[in-house]
């Protein structure tokens, strides 16, 4: 993350939309850069990679984007757990496409972090060594097929509630990545809902499976919005920087209000006897969240913390020889004289060269 300490750069108007500047930028003081930055944020302009930004803003973004990227790739595990057992070919195609989308989201997000001077390998090291976190929700196990639906409906639903405001985040590359992520996430959310609907309308065993999954995933989903506002350490500054636009509790309430009628349409019960419509507030009241459970999982004591991290490390370690070989081949290619065209390699595909074709249509 060399550029975290790089000298301040002239702020370039927007993403190159402004008039081109001739010659060297005029000398500016730190205070003037800060004033420009503050004015841009206040005017809802986007901060772009080459713009000057406070070190703490950069560090906050790297931390948040990395955590988000890590959540995407760890989040592949609980759902990939059911790819080989998907009960119909249609569901299997949908699930594989979804898990693939998550890998794609990981790629956009690591890319966004790299625009801030971070390095993907370093960020992965931090994930593997436990120095950076991922969303705690993925430390719960997927025990039945219905969990795939509950994750889509509730976990992706909560993620969308959190992420839609990020499409207006002050940092341009993150905001743009989130536009694409949110579109795909809303597909996933509808697919999850539809999966649960099929189970809810199915046999008694399928119905019970759906209810059990909702019982287990409801409270952890509410925890995805983070601690209550009064206990949230990063919130105030992120709000001022327009990285964050709504408080944890506001978003949580919004999510509950969306889910209650959807649960009713699904014919499933949310496991909270205190859920009641509060006409005065115009919102649903809900029962207390077990924050001790949240804290324990954050500390690493959740049902799957060790397992998720272990699988991630193993995949990385087992793949080390592949990455080394790809790098060695690329280095040899660079040092070799140009070969005659008779056996020219076809269009490269695969690691670090070409992204395979983008998101699949599958069954969407």
């Amino acid at each position: 993350m060399a550029s975290a300490t790089s000298p301040p750069r002239e702020r370039e108007a927007g993403s190159g939309a402004g008039p081109a500047r001739a010659g060297a930028p005029p000398e500016k003081s730190e205070q003037e850069f800060q004033a420009d930055f503050d004015a841009a944020v206040a005017a809802d302009e986007r901060i772009e990679p080459r713009d000057w930004m406070p070190d703490a803003y950069r560090a906050t973004l790297v931390r948040q984007i990395a955590q988000h990227a890590h959540s995407e790739i760890i989040g592949m595990q609980p759902e990939a757990n059911w790819i080989t057992r998907a009960p119909s070919l249609r569901r299997k195609a949908i699930l594989m496409a979804k898990v693939q989308d998550e890998a794609g989201h990981g790629l956009y997000l690591y890319g966004a972090a790299e625009t801030l001077g971070a390095d993907r390998e370093e960020l992965l090291d931090k994930l593997h060594s436990g120095r950076q976190k991922y969303s705690s929700i993925f430390n719960y196990p997927t025990l039945t097929w219905a969990d795939v639906g509950a994750i889509g409906w509730l976990v992706d639903g909560a993620a969308i509630t959190n992420q839609v405001p990020l499409c207006r985040c002050s940092y341009g590359p993150y905001a743009r990545a989130m536009v694409r992520v949110c579109k795909e996430e809303s597909f996933h959310q509808r697919q999850g809902y539809e999966l649960l609907l099929a189970l809810s309308r199915g046999t008694p065993a399928q119905r019970a499976m759906a209810q059990d999954a909702v019982d287990r995933w409801w409270w952890p989903s509410l925890m995805m919005f983070g601690p209550p506002d009064e206990a949230s350490s990063h919130s105030a500054r992120s709000m001022a920087w327009k990285i964050k636009r709504h408080s944890n509790d506001e978003l949580r309430q919004r999510f509950v209000d969306i889910c209650v009628p959807q649960a009713e349409s699904l014919g499933l019960t949310l496991p909270d006897p205190e859920l009641t419509w509060n006409a005065e507030r115009g919102h649903w009241d809900f029962g207390p969240i077990d924050w001790q459970e949240f804290q324990e999982i954050l500390k690493g004591n959740g049902p799957c913390n060790a397992q998720r991290l272990e699988q991630r490390r193993r995949a990385h370690d087992d793949g080390a020889w592949v990455r080394e070989a790809a790098a060695a081949h690329a280095a040899k290619q660079r040092s070799r004289p140009v070969e005659p065209p008779a056996h020219q390699e076809r269009q490269p595909a695969g690691a670090h060269t070409a992204a395979p074709r983008a998101a699949r249509s599958g069954d969407r």
């Binding site: 057992r85 119909s88 496409a97 020889w321 990455r323 081949h329 595909a349 695969g350």
Partner: protein, 240 residues
């Protein structure tokens, strides 16, 4: 090349090939050596699953719905070749398996394109699969001593499953000798550029294992099917 559609049951072996290899590739999800390969392997798996479903649709009158065909047949009724059911092992095995298979599937699709509508579209996908496997074969064959050794090991281990690819499938009236020659040409070219040795095997007189087309499979396949079919079979008649 024939312009008249083959009998539907002749499409079962290629359909099962696609389903089974798709399943094996799906097992990589969350385990790939680099994030780009999570996307690439899933892409190939999805293409193959799409091909299998399109071919099963042609078999509806004979064998029932796609899910009945995939989930309710016993191991002995599957007509896929043994190559595609082989476990993923390391990334080298997965790449070599894909190279052997895609180098066969591409000329097969070209030959079927005039009479099996799905084959024309599938050929475009398969060209990409072959390209992906070829590029990785070049990287890994050339990369490091370890990657070279792993690739040669995988190439040798899987070679014995390639012989049955060229046993004519009843009802598919195509030029099997030409297909085999094309396959051998691709393999010799790619292995040559990757610094790998084409193994001794069917082409050089060694005995070839393989009777998947007759429903005789290898031991790992039964476990694969057990996992794949378990949930569907646990809820008879349910829809998902």
């Amino acid at each position: 090349m024939t312009a008249t559609a083959p009998p539907a049951l002749a499409l079962l072996p290629p359909a099962d090939d696609a389903l089974v290899l798709s399943h094996r590739l799906g097992e990589w999800a969350g385990h790939a050596p680099v994030l780009e390969e999570e996307v690439a392997l899933a892409n190939i798996a999805l293409d193959l699953l799409g091909q299998a479903r399109a071919l099963y649709a042609e078999l509806r009158d004979e064998l029932g719905s796609e899910d009945e065909i995939a989930y309710l047949r016993e191991e002995r009724a599957f007509r896929n070749c043994q190559l595609v059911e082989q476990p993923n092992e390391d990334f080298a095995h997965t790449i070599v398996r894909q190279l052997y298979f895609s180098a066969y599937q591409l000329p097969l699709h070209h030959r079927l394109a005039s009479c099996v509508p799905v084959a024309a579209k599938a050929a475009q996908e398969t060209a990409y699969h072959l390209d992906h496997a070829e590029q990785w074969t070049l990287r890994l064959g050339d990369g490091t001593e370890e990657s070279h050794a792993r690739m040669q090991r995988a190439a040798d281990a899987l070679w014995r499953y390639t012989g049955e690819l060229f046993e004519p499938i009843e009802g598919l009236d195509i030029d099997w000798h030409g297909l085999r020659a094309e396959w051998s040409g691709t393999l010799t070219d790619v292995f040559g550029r990757a610094g790998l040795t084409v193994p001794d095997g069917p082409g050089t007189g060694a005995w070839s294992a393989g009777a998947g087309r007759q429903g005789l499979h290898t031991e790992p396949f039964g476990r694969m099917l057990a996992e794949m079919q378990h949930l569907h079979r646990s809820h008879p008649g349910a829809s998902w």
